[in-house]
Amino acid sequence: MPREDESVEAMEIDGQHQQAAITAVPDGFNVDYLRIYYGKLFPYGDFFKWLSYGNDGKHPGCDQSYVGRREFSFTLENDIYLRFQSFDSVSEMESSIKEKCPFKIDIGPPAKRHAYAQSGNNVFVPVERELIFDIDISDYDDVRYCCSGADVCMDCWPLMTIAIKILDASLRDDFGFNHILWVYSGRRGVHCWACYPPFRLNNEQRAAIADYFRVYKGGENAMKKVSLTGHVLHPFLARAYTNVLKCFFEDKLLLSQQLFASEERYQKILDLIPDENVASELHNKWQGNRRSSISKEDANATRWEQLKSTLQSGKHKGLRRCIEEIVFSYSYPRLDMEVSKHMNHLLKAPFCIHPKTGRVCVPIDPDNCDDFDPTTVPTLSQDIVSATIAESLQGGIRKLIQCKAPAVQEYLDLVKFTVTFQLFLPA
């Protein structure tokens, strides 16, 4: 193992040298870097403050046992899994993480009794828990053509962005949540932690919220997975459509995914139309002008317009809802219902490092989620380098901001994410 740390420390703050040093550092995930990350960068204080929910203070209402009853689980090197970890203080948490150097940290609910008392066959009784959501872009594989599986790019990532927008707005406006944390999962999705003091939502209530959000009913055999009944849409769905989905679908997704560009692709959309005559009418029309000189871009927009006007015309009254159904099918958020329904689900902690990508699981600011680009999220190695560089700079934060060196900018990015986290913290 080359001694990069030495060479880094010896480096001067000089553009040329910096660049060279960075390229010499291998990317991705490794244990040594992880150790340094936990040593210097993991925000223990804020993290602990979050999970205390005000119980770490000295005022009379504090429940001193509160944080200690929260379960954590660590996944160590070689897939060793430790459950029922708990900490009564931030220093205890810090030393445990630094010592064990977990590849993954999961957060569970606070239990009735101290977490470490639960090991073995004892029944673990969760008392309360944040409302959590897990959205994974691989669940959209049937509607994205640019990537599949674990891959993600800026053509399909916006599906996550709009999921954040729709759910965040609804959690605040409909359900009255005030403290909502969105976190990049490190590879291909996002997590949401909605804190509803005193968040004693039981499983039934959680399931109700998840069902409220559910529109897409997947399954291999169902051809049509979105069914919007009723003369009008529920205000929540109407808002989602008008404010987010319609323009996203028409302005972005149509083109980025080339939804009408080939017969295979537009047939998938035509399959969502319940009237076979209409579907085949459109199919024949488009097959007809396959060899025309219309550019691909125009084809997508044109065909969509044609589909809309056909369905909206007077003679197909029953099909009006169909347009919304298509839009919802392709773009409306798809949640993992099981994660949200059960109180005892363990979810990955923010600021972990994703073992496969080396990226930090950073918070996402929902008000600026359009700017979030998963391909530029700081990686472990970059973090180490930039942090070390930044540390050696004299003059504090102002000097950092002035410094144009990329490594420093990356460090500042990380700081920005930390600030996002701090803004989320309940006061």
């Binding site: 409909d174 399931a207 109700a208 009723g230 529920h234 205000p235």
Partner: protein
């Protein structure tokens, strides 16, 4: 806080006063068994009247009546069978009859299901007929202490409420009474997007509140039935075997599960059946109170179908001069009964003669005959020795011999009585049903 009401509802309120007979308590919720003294006679009669209401409801449902029609039907049934001039008496009867029927209908899964379904329906429509004030009191009792929406707030969200109404297939004219409820209290409505949500509150329409109330009611009764069954099986049945148990067991035969079509046919008992039946009772010379317990234990099952029992008490009252005119008839002998020709829909006659083989076997099974004795009895029937068959049934059911043979229903009865009395006095109980 103002309650938003439409002009229509105010008028309805003024005209009403129905449901709980206008009593201050309104609709009882049957949470606690009453600490009342009940006469044995009332025990059964009240239950039978309530059973009439429940069966009327079952009939209405099976005919597919719409909610407005059901509401009307319930009102009429209640008035016809349960109302008393004195509202306190009505309430009394209401509560007592419910608890008696609980005993009756707790004993099997099928009975519980039916009772639960009918009582819930009854409650639903009685709730709808209550005044708004009474409904709100009931809501509190069910721990649904919702605050009605002030007018100004209602106006602000009216469009959204209308939108929600339309998504769930209701008319655009929105209901006028809404409640603002923390969303976590109405998870079912949230899950199906049947409510408008804002800042953590769900806007629940009155009709939806009715559903919530009824759901709670149903849940409470369901649990209560299971507990009652346990208590019945473990203690009451044995304790009351000479008093209430026979009545309870007979009452449950008055309705045979979800067999609605049979019920529909038997809304009235034809003349022939009434005569034979009613006269027998009179001939038995039993006072009303005594007749109930013993007769029900033995003879009703023999004579035949459960439908008979439905008219039982009415007929008794008729025969004892409580209803209509009195006529001095002689009870029919076996010969006369056997020679009768019951037509379609009739329920008189001699079961040995007039029942189909399957029905007769079932009836005899119920009386406790089986195996060898049952085959012997059926053999006699095939050879048209009906009275002999009856005698053998008597012997099998009671475990004693009947040397004189049976030639009159009243005789069967009085012999039965003798046996029962003897049994009660005996130290050991004979092996019977």
């Amino acid at each position: 806080m103002e309650i938003v009401r439409s002009h229509r509802q105010l008028a309805a309120e003024a005209a009403s006063g129905v449901g709980g007979g206008g009593s201050a308590g309104g609709l009882p919720t049957y949470r606690v068994a009453p600490q009342l003294e009940v006469r044995l006679e009332e025990f059964e009669l009240f239950a039978i009247d309530r059973l009439r209401v429940l069966k009327g409801i079952a009939d209405g449902l099976s005919r597919g009546k719409r909610p407005e029609e059901m509401e009307k039907l319930v009102k009429e049934l209640w008035k016809a069978h349960m109302r008393h001039q004195d509202p306190a008496e009505t309430l009394n009867k209401d509560i007592i009859s419910h608890f008696v029927l609980r005993l009756v209908y707790c004993r099997t899964e099928e009975l519980r299901k039916w009772f639960l379904s009918m009582e819930t329906t009854l409650f639903r429509y009685r709730f709808r007929l209550e005044s708004l004030e009474s409904q709100r009191m009931l809501m509190s009792e069910f721990q649904l202490p919702y605050k009605a929406l002030p007018h100004s707030e209602f106006e602000a969200v009216k469009d959204k409420l209308s939108q929600v109404a339309r998504t769930i297939g209701q008319s655009a004219t929105v209901e006028s009474v809404f409640f603002k409820v923390p969303f976590e209290e109405v998870p079912d409505l949230v899950a199906c997007r049947r409510v408008f949500l804002s800042k953590g509150y769900a806007y629940v329409a009155m009709s939806q509140v009715v559903s919530l109330v009824v759901t709670q009611f149903r849940c409470n009764i369901s649990k209560a039935l299971v507990l009652t069954n346990r208590k019945w099986t473990s203690t009451i049945k044995e304790q009351e075997k000479d008093r209430l148990t026979p009545i309870v067991e007979a009452l449950s035969n008055a309705y045979f599960g979800p067999d609605y079509s049979q019920l529909r046919e038997n809304h009235h008992l034809k003349h022939g059946g009434r005569m034979q039946f009613g006269l027998f009772l009179k001939g038995a010379g039993l006072k009303l109170e005594d007749a109930l317990a013993f007769w029900r234990a033995e003879f009703s099952q023999k004579v035949g179908s459960e439908r008979f029992d439905k008219e039982y008490a009415y007929s008794i009252r008729h025969n004892y001069g409580k209803e209509g005119k009195r006529t001095d008839y002689t009870p029919y002998s076996c010969q006369k009964i056997i020679s009768a020709t019951p037509g379609v829909g009739d329920h008189h006659g001699c079961p040995y003669r007039h029942f189909g083989e399957e029905n007769l076997r079932a009836a005899l099974n119920k009386m406790g005959t089986s195996g060898h004795s049952l085959e012997e009895i059926m053999d006699k029937v095939k050879n048209r020795h009906y009275q002999l068959a009856c005698t053998m049934t008597f012997e099998a059911a009671h475990g004693v011999s009947c040397d004189t043979g049976i030639n009159h229903p009243n005789q069967y009865f009085s012999e039965s009585q003798k046996v029962l009395k003897a049994k009660n006095q005996a130290v050991e109980s004979q092996a019977t049903t």
